[in-house]
Subunit: 202 residues, 2 copies
């Protein structure tokens, strides 16, 4: 199959400059300092859309949430070869195929994050909850539509529930405020609840 | 900004061979026959992952829903220049910027659809709800995680609620069975309810 060409349509501007997950020794490595640094920047980022694509944004301001597609530009090209990782670089997690994880290291290093759209000012989008670092190339923007994007009756792999709890614990043990914790429900709003706990919930 | 290179990681196999939305005269054109044809194929598609990426799937079988990223390969290159369209090619809809729509015609023709994962057999994924036609290149697969992908308290643009109703009406007026209707809640599971109707709901 032939190669496909993507042209960046914009760039991220925020104060986060350390990657949370790096490629290291054919696996991922979690940088906890970067997670904590990123906390407050997760709250607000700017997305600058290139002048030529400015009018492509017309109407986006009427949506509360948008899907941001970005290219994890810090990942070295050779990292695109690896097939399996420890999720979030945690050795206690079972090693899994890249497509079963949200690893930023993947054959095509495309990430998607659904964020709250705070404001549009011309070619600038102010968003909340973007986990991309400063200068990350943006490759697409779409409105979030529950009909297409939020199916119901979800079941995750057991290790993924463990991982979400682990990440929350790690950040709760820091002196990060709850409102700046990227794994707090304040920012992401939708909890991942194990099916057996959903049943027992009031 | 430099160009970014994507390598397809797999391909779609199903019986849908007509595009639902085509590029036509600097806008979109809806092919209702294609929507109706696609109905039963939306129920089940195969995704064949290339042999070299097969082990990237290990662990995916433990998730109920996956996000499929694909490249709308039938869109001509010149179409990537257009900035605004009538959503779903419907002239009664207000013209909007591409990034405020889910148009398959866009600067980088990447689509994402969240689908139900029915089964994994080696390098084959059987999925329900994929709106890609036969032979569409697949560029990424990720597990769907509500924490990242399903924010709450969503507000859409008014025209988007209108459009969803319009598409549902169009397909209901056909002789398509409810279970094969791509706009039926049976397949997508999550309704788009206007905020004022949410409040009034019992």
């Amino acid at each position: 199959m032939t190669e496909l060409i993507i042209k960046p349509i914009g760039i991220v501007k925020n104060k986060a400059n350390k990657e949370v997950l790096k490629y290291s020794n054919k696996d991922l490595k979690l940088d906890l300092d970067a997670v904590l640094d990123q906390g407050s920047d997760l709250i607000r980022s700017k997305i600058l859309i290139n002048e030529e694509y400015k009018e492509c944004l017309d109407g986006i301001e009427d949506f509360s949430h948008i899907i941001v597609f970005f290219w994890t530009h810090k990942i070295p090209d050779k990292a695109r070869q690896i097939k399996k990782v420890h999720p979030a670089g945690m050795k206690k997690m079972p090693i899994k195929g890249i497509f079963a994880t949200r690893s930023p290291v993947r054959p095509n290093p495309i990430c998607k994050t659904t964020v709250k759209l705070i404001e549009r000012k011309g070619e600038i989008l102010i968003v909340e909850g973007l986990d991309a670092i400063d200068n990350t190339p943006i490759i697409d923007i779409k409105p979030h539509i529950p009909f297409y994007d939020s199916p119901l009756n979800i079941k995750l792999a057991d290790w993924m529930y463990d991982l979400m709890e682990e990440l929350k614990k790690l950040t709760e043990n820091s002196d990060l405020e709850e409102s700046s914790n990227p794994y707090s429900i304040n920012i992401r709003s939708h909890p991942c609840i194990r099916p057996n706990q959903q049943k027992n919930a009031p």
